[in-house]
């Protein structure tokens, strides 16, 4: 079942923060986050495994709440390079199923 992402789109000014949510009605075993820039392939950001862990990479971090079957991606002090569409993907012992994406635009 396809995970649900919110919001669908967000516009930020440089330096602002954003949160993108991903939820599923089906049990999540792991959550992936990818970013796709216009006209390019999706690029892997991070994987979170069940256990409530939080991961980070520079100013982009994510959390995974297994009980709520929800993951959130946090973008701190956004930069122009953060613009793109962010997809979460859920996986059990199954191929990755992606949400519809959240379009993030960072403006100067």
């Amino acid at each position: 079942q396809q995970p649900v992402q919110s919001p669908q789109a967000v516009i930020l000014r440089e330096g602002e923060d954003a949160v993108i949510n991903c939820s599923s009605s089906k049990a999540l075993y792991s959550v992936h986050w990818y970013r796709q820039k216009h006209g390019e392939a999706p690029v892997f950001l991070m994987i979170l495994l069940k256990g409530g862990e939080q991961k980070g990479h520079e100013k982009i971090s994510a959390s995974f709440n297994e009980k709520k079957q929800q993951s959130s991606l946090y973008l701190t002090a956004s930069q122009l390079s953060y613009s793109g569409t962010y997809f979460c993907g859920s996986s059990g012992n199954t191929p990755l199923v992606f949400g519809k994406g959240t379009r993030l635009s960072v403006i100067a």
Binding site: Q2, S30, F44, S91, N93, P95, G99, K100, G101
Partner: protein
């Protein structure tokens, strides 16, 4: 180290025709997954190949078929093309375990007229 390569990058076909898309996985990867991405949508899983066998299939008709070769490269074939098949077709390679991170190719943009 070459990443995932796909060919061709763009393709224009007419309804009813057949098309073959090709993918070479990243070095060290033995599993290839194919995804269809319609404009403004997330990638939709078509099928996955491992050890030259179709390991799992998404909700796509039999018009969509594939193959994996001994060198792990893969082909996606679509028969009897429909207008609705117009999309970006992405190939992703990974290790064999479920849930491993995917490395995507740049995709093939298919337009059906």
């Amino acid at each position: 180290d070459a990443g995932v390569t796909q060919s061709p990058t763009h393709l224009i076909k007419t309804r009813g025709q057949q098309v073959t898309l090709r993918c070479s996985p990243k070095s060290g990867h033995d599993t290839v997954s194919w995804y269809q991405q319609a404009l403004g949508q997330g990638p939709q899983f078509i099928f996955q190949y491992y050890e030259e066998e179709e390991r799992q299939r998404g909700n796509f008709p039999d018009r969509f078929s594939g193959h994996q070769f001994p060198n792990y490269s893969s082909e996606l074939n679509v028969n009897a093309l429909l207008l609705g098949d117009s999309a970006l077709y992405l190939c992703a390679s990974s290790g064999r375990a479920w849930g491993e991170k995917l490395f995507f190719g740049s995709g093939t943009q298919l337009s059906v007229l």
